[in-house]
C-alpha cells in the first residue's frame, strides 16, 4: 500500500519496525494510527470529532489488505467502535435514555480512556528516548581484567566434559519453545475432523445398515467427537447416504444407511480447516489418516 505524503507518521521509518507487528504503514497499533489522524486534523483527543477520522481509519485498515487477524483484532475493535459512534451520530436519536445509547457512550468513553492512556505512554516514551539519546553520549568503562589481576583469580574448576558442552550447545541452539502466553491453538484447526468421523460412520453403517445415534457415539472420546459425528451425519444426510428415524421428540435417533454399498461419499469439509473441494470419503482409508489437526 502506498504511503500518502501528507500522512503524519510518528516515530522512525517503517524499516525500524519488527515484522511481528501489524504492518499498517508506520503505525504500531490502532491507537497510534488514531492519534496520528487526530493530530493531522488538529483535533483535541477529548473533543475528537469522530466522524472526521473514522473514514480515514477504516480506509487505512482497508488498505492494509491481508493481515494476521490475531494481531489485528484491536484495529477491528477500534474501527467497529468508531463506526458505531459515527452511525449513532448520523441517525436521529430522540432520547439518550435508551440502553443502546448508553452502551455507545460507554464504548466511546472506554475508547477515549484507552486512547488517552496510550497517548500518555507515547509521550513519556519520547521523553525516555531523548534521555537515552543523551546517555548514549557517555560510554561506560568496561575493560578486560588486567593480566596481573586475572592471575589472582582462583584456578577454574571445570567440572564438565566435552559431551556436556555439546549438550549445552545443542540445548541453546535448538529452537526455543514459544514464550508462555495465550495458546491460540484451540482456536484453529478442529481437533476432531468431521470428515474422519464421517469415514468411521460410513464404515459402521455399511456393515450394520442401521444404528442408533447413541450406539454410533458410544465409543466417542469426548464431546467434540460426538459433535463431529453429528455434523458428519448431517453431511451424509445431505448426500442422501443416510436417513433418520425418530419415534418422538427426544426419542432415540436411528440412522439408516441408504447409500451405495461401495465407493466414496462426498463429505464437504466446511467444518474442517483444510481448504479445497469436497473429497470422497471411503471407509477408513488405507493411508491411515491419523492426524487430527492437519
Amino acid at each position: 500500500m502506498a504511503t500518502s505524503p501528507e500522512r503524519v507518521a510518528p516515530g522512525p521509518p517503517a524499516g525500524g519496525r519488527a515484522a511481528f507487528e501489524v504492518s499498517l504503514d508506520n503505525f504500531s497499533g490502532p491507537f497510534d494510527l488514531l492519534l496520528s489522524l487526530i493530530a493531522k486534523h488538529r483535533l483535541d483527543v477529548t473533543e475528537i470529532a469522530l466522524a472526521q477520522v473514522t473514514d480515514e481509519f477504516i480506509a487505512h485498515i482497508h488498505a492494509a489488505g491481508e493481515w494476521d487477524l490475531s494481531q489485528a483484532s484491536e484495529f477491528l475493535v477500534v474501527a467497529a467502535t468508531l463506526l458505531d459512534l459515527k452511525a449513532a451520530r448520523l441517525l436521529p436519536t430522540p432520547t439518550v435514555e435508551e440502553a443502546e445509547d448508553l452502551e455507545l457512550l460507554e464504548a466511546r468513553d472506554l475508547l477515549f480512556a484507552r486512547l488517552l492512556q496510550y497517548r500518555a505512554f507515547k509521550q513519556v516514551a519520547a521523553h525516555l528516548e531523548d534521555r537515552l539519546e543523551e546517555q548514549t553520549r557517555s560510554r561506560p568503562r568496561s575493560v578486560r581484567l588486567e593480566p596481573h589481576l586475572a592471575a589472582l583469580l582462583p584456578e577454574l574448576v571445570i567440572s564438565i566434559g566435552p559431551e556436556r558442552l555439546a549438550g549445552l550447545a545443542a540445548a541453546a541452539l535448538s529452537p526455543k519453545p514459544p514464550p508462555p502466553g495465550v495458546d491460540v491453538g484451540h482456536l484453529h484447526a478442529p481437533v476432531v475432523s468431521v470428515r474422519e468421523q464421517a469415514s468411521v460412520l460410513v464404515e459402521r453403517l455399511r456393515g450394520a445398515r442401521a444404528a442408533t445415534f447413541r450406539a454410533l457415539t458410544a465409543d466417542a472420546d469426548g464431546v467434540p467427537v460426538v459433535v463431529a459425528r453429528f455434523l458428519a451425519l448431517l453431511e451424509l444426510f445431505r448426500e442422501g447416504a443416510v436417513a433418520f428415524e425418530q419415534a418422538g421428540p427426544l426419542g432415540d435417533l436411528t440412522v439408516l444407511w441408504t447409500g451405495a454399498e461401495h465407493g466414496g461419499v462426498a463429505v464437504d469439509d466446511d467444518y474442517d480447516d483444510g481448504a479445497g473441494p469436497a473429497e470422497p470419503v471411503d471407509g477408513p482409508s488405507d493411508e491411515g489418516r491419523t492426524e487430527e489437526d492437519a
Binding site: A19, F20, E21, A49, A113, V124, T136, S138, R141, P179
Partner: protein, 195 residues
C-alpha cells in the same frame, strides 16, 4: 571528606577508589567500594562525590574527559558526553543500536506499571507485544519478575541495566506520568463533548 584524616591518607583512599573503579565492569554499589577501601559507607559516599566533582573540574583542576556517575545502583566511570564524537570513532559497541518506537513505548509501560504481564502491556498498546518484549529481554532492559497470582502469566520489570542506560539512580527518578495524563475533570467531561 573526612576531616580528621591527614591529606595524604585521603589522597591514598581516593586513589584506591579510582583504582577499583578502573576494573569495574558494572556500576559498583557504594557498599562494595566502602568495603574495598575499609571505610564506612557514608565516608565512602562523600569521597566518591568528591571524585565526581573533581572530574567535572569543580576542584581546581580542568574538566576531565571522563565522569564518575552514580546510576543504576552504583558508581561507574564513563566517558564525558562532551567528547562523544571523538569517542564514537574508537569505541564500537551495541550501545548505538536504537530502540524502535514500539520498543520504547513498551519499555515505558513496563517502567511505569511494573511488574506487568505481556497481556496488560498489549492492552495499553493495542497490539501484541510478544516480539517487542523478547527484544527488550535480549537487550537486558527488562527481566522476568515472577508470575501473576491470578492467571500465572509471566510478569516483567525493568532491570538495573535499564536504570544505567537511562542514567537513573532509581525508578523514582523517572519523570512523573501524571502530567501526561489528562486531568480527571477532562475525563469526566467526556460526556459533554462530541455529541
Amino acid at each position: 571528606m573526612t576531616e580528621t584524616a591527614p591529606a595524604l591518607d585521603v589522597d591514598r583512599v581516593l586513589a584506591a577508589l579510582e583504582a577499583v573503579l578502573m576494573v569495574a565492569d558494572e556500576p559498583v554499589p557504594v557498599a562494595g567500594l566502602a568495603a574495598a577501601v575499609g571505610l564506612p559507607v557514608e565516608e565512602a559516599e562523600a569521597l566518591l562525590s568528591e571524585l565526581a566533582a573533581d572530574y567535572r573540574g569543580e576542584r581546581g583542576g580542568r574538566p576531565r574527559g571522563f565522569e564518575l556517575r552514580d546510576v543504576g545502583g552504583g558508581w561507574r566511570v564513563y566517558s564525558s558526553p562532551v567528547h562523544a564524537d571523538v569517542v564514537g570513532a574508537f569505541v564500537l559497541d551495541g550501545q548505538t543500536a536504537r530502540l524502535t518506537q514500539a520498543a520504547l513505548e513498551t519499555l515505558a509501560i513496563v517502567a511505569y506499571r511494573q511488574p506487568i504481564s505481556r497481556g496488560r502491556i498489549a492492552a495499553v498498546r493495542g497490539v501484541s507485544v510478544d516480539g517487542v518484549v523478547r527484544t527488550l529481554l535480549s537487550r537486558g532492559l527488562v527481566e522476568e519478575a515472577g508470575h501473576d497470582d491470578a492467571g500465572g502469566a509471566t510478569l516483567y520489570r525493568t532491570s538495573r541495566y535499564f536504570l544505567e542506560r537511562f542514567g537513573l539512580r532509581s525508578l523514582e527518578e523517572l519523570p512523573p506520568l501524571a502530567p501526561y495524563l489528562p486531568e480527571a475533570d477532562a475525563l469526566l467531561d467526556l460526556d459533554g463533548v462530541a455529541s
